[in-house]
Symmetry: D2
Subunit: 273 residues, 4 copies
Amino acid sequence: MIRGLSKSGLGSITDEQLIAKAAEYGFGVVDIDAKALVEKHGEQGAAKLLSDHHVTLGSIGLNVEWRGTDEQFREGLKQLPLHAAAAAQLGCTACCTYILPSTDYKSALFTALAVARLRLIADILDAYGIRFALEFVGPHHLRTAWANPFIWTVEETLALISAINRPNVGLLVDAYHCHTTGFTPEHLRGLRPEQVVHVHINDARDLPVAELLDNDRLYPGEGIIDLKGFLAALADIGYKGPVVQEILTRTAPEETPDELLSRSKAGFDKVFA
Amino acid sequence: MIRGLSKSGLGSITDEQLIAKAAEYGFGVVDIDAKALVEKHGEQGAAKLLSDHHVTLGSIGLNVEWRGTDEQFREGLKQLPLHAAAAAQLGCTACCTYILPSTDYKSALFTALAVARLRLIADILDAYGIRFALEFVGPHHLRTAWANPFIWTVEETLALISAINRPNVGLLVDAYHCHTTGFTPEHLRGLRPEQVVHVHINDARDLPVAELLDNDRLYPGEGIIDLKGFLAALADIGYKGPVVQEILTRTAPEETPDELLSRSKAGFDKVFA
Amino acid sequence: MIRGLSKSGLGSITDEQLIAKAAEYGFGVVDIDAKALVEKHGEQGAAKLLSDHHVTLGSIGLNVEWRGTDEQFREGLKQLPLHAAAAAQLGCTACCTYILPSTDYKSALFTALAVARLRLIADILDAYGIRFALEFVGPHHLRTAWANPFIWTVEETLALISAINRPNVGLLVDAYHCHTTGFTPEHLRGLRPEQVVHVHINDARDLPVAELLDNDRLYPGEGIIDLKGFLAALADIGYKGPVVQEILTRTAPEETPDELLSRSKAGFDKVFA
Amino acid sequence: MIRGLSKSGLGSITDEQLIAKAAEYGFGVVDIDAKALVEKHGEQGAAKLLSDHHVTLGSIGLNVEWRGTDEQFREGLKQLPLHAAAAAQLGCTACCTYILPSTDYKSALFTALAVARLRLIADILDAYGIRFALEFVGPHHLRTAWANPFIWTVEETLALISAINRPNVGLLVDAYHCHTTGFTPEHLRGLRPEQVVHVHINDARDLPVAELLDNDRLYPGEGIIDLKGFLAALADIGYKGPVVQEILTRTAPEETPDELLSRSKAGFDKVFA
């Protein structure tokens, strides 16, 4: 497994700083916007920036809004091949999206729309050699944040993936969402490695699971999630990809990036030990 | 369009009687179990029975329970190719299933399962040249008959069909379900002919739509549905297939088959006029 | 059916002239580049230009090179949603590509690539409500123009469409290619209307079929193809879409556009009579 | 990886003997007909027979003839769910078929048919939790045994799998076919583990590759294939499934099953060392 960083939890930091700091603090992977990087530095410049720091691109975020209207979906599609092409140019093979656990659409109708839209996204990504990671989202308060329940468990997400029925679609496994849906390391061992496309790591406060907020996460090793067990299970099933820090917080952190990165490094050292 | 009969509404009647009576009362199509007919009469015997009466097979019912457990689904699949092969041997090109508007599964999970299962059924049918008709079910009481809402409008059913994404899947348009979901002849004109795989005809009591029961239907022409408008809309879009009577009633009818068939014929004569 | 014009066979003519002349000579449809038109006139301007002349957009050509390398395919994909979106904005619901009957790839490998690539194109088009028309290409000399045979008959093209397995994919039926593959009006009657997404009309010299060149076509009514039978068969199966003139010639025509349009109109009047 | 046996190469031997002998000679897997075993012993009896010998079922062969006519294909489909269900009952998760490298169909048409048919087979198997292994076939003489070339390389087979586009389809990697197509251990290392659904092991005479016959194979370790390298590469990519002996010979072997099994065991011991 490869330690990775996203910008979430590192305050105000540019792509170039993230790449440099990742290298400095022992991370091998960053999750950033490939298209923006290529547009700024050119394809060769962007590739060189990464390789000079011995850092690779772990995943890109999905640019397409698939949860809204047909118009929004179509609008996002226009740019998707450009994002996928930029990612492929930089050797990135994963694209991530998250699944909100409730929706203002009727649940069944929304599921039908989601299957059709996510399938097309998967197919376009596949043309560029990119896999598609679906992130189930666990915090309980989001299950009623919109009018009707959608899906949030791994079992449901795998059923959605079966309905999508494409070889390049799998899970984004986030430690916080595992914790808030009761998906234990033991459950993790029931997955096949190719079902795990990407991994997020973070930690949770010592509160009842039902009270944990989505945007109130802790740095790895600073909370009560069994992250050693989480990582051991991923290793056991043969997962060898990125494990990327993602810390959503209610307010921007006040420390400097270096202070935050030191915390991140310490946390990774602790849970990867 | 071709006038057709099913057993629903004709009391106790055998396949052989239905075929003979259909011919006698001016119907060109029957909906019966192709596999049972072939098993009883042999392929050639069954084909001859139909052709001797100048009657063709409009559709078969789906033998697979796709609304329950994986085990039930797999059990049904075992016989599906046999049903499809028998239908194909008799020149039948449609298979029908209905969609109950609520479910004890979580709505989103059930939709994902439904997409995957109905898609496989469609693919198996397609190997035998058979199209798959999905019947939306309108009566309001069924929307809360199980724990969670599923789908019942044409718009939702078309979204499900898009999620299934197979060329041989379309609608079963039933006059009673159109009536109870507010799907008017004007709406019907918005469909393309290939979206309509099969048609059921029947009539409704003069009650508020929300009070109409699924198993309390009337014979065509005996109720208040605008069946002339219904048929005119189907003709306008270019539908040329079977229009099959299906009368679900709370108790078995007390008349003789001939009395019932006379009513059916009179009803068809009236609304097809 | 709606009479239509493409630029092929009309010499040097702009989109704006084509639209104006189509109206003037009694054509209801033009096949032009929707994206270019929208980029030049804006969405509303382009739509107004068409509606002012009571002309609609019959189809757009496919911008993606799917017959070459992965790189070429991926490059073309980048622009495809933009083309599809522009077409949808102008109410166009068809996109066309042609299938060369031989290839420098090994035939089986090329077919596997073609299925995967054409399927993705179809799916992207479908997100914008656009159907995908595959044009089989009949002239015999092209069957050996590249190293290995690919497909050229309707039967083979339908098998390819079955392998693609998407509801929005069908045939582009071109009179010249029907003539050069022996696909008669009688054969045409065996198709369902939704299998015909678009139609090209043109005519052939009185030569043995095997000698006819792809780029040596005549105007409708000036050759020996039974175009009345062709159109009658299309009408019989219920085809109601555009019938667009496409005349490929070895050298650019020397007449003025008006002279050519007069010939076209005369030809259409003759064969549509 | 788990050592496995098929009947190919062991002379006349019953399923029950194969199971018992597999256990006796240190093999953990057998490839036999699950449906036949269940029909003979009942589901529980068959499962007990296997578990009593600490042997599992590695794969079943495909019962469907997908290389011939539509009628043959449809006939085979009728039994496929029964085979898949029996395999699932015994815990078997793989089904195998081989791809002959030439065909009497036109290559492109045959590829289109193969994509559609293999996809449906894959989908039916998937409903029972079974993956589908496609075996590319290398011996050169078979490339011209029928009228037109089909596919035989891994690259081509992966292109076919991409065209099929289902998550449960992958390769059957057979040492003999790797040898005869120049697919080296180094190439093997380029595959992902989930792309390898099943493995066959056997050996080749010391002849020019182009002269090797399909039905003239040797026991593992008795020929010139670098089987240690083959197995090392499979281990390196993370393949953990069965490695099943398959020895096709021109005449039935003359030794007793025990003599043949001793040779097999010795061969496996040598190449697995």
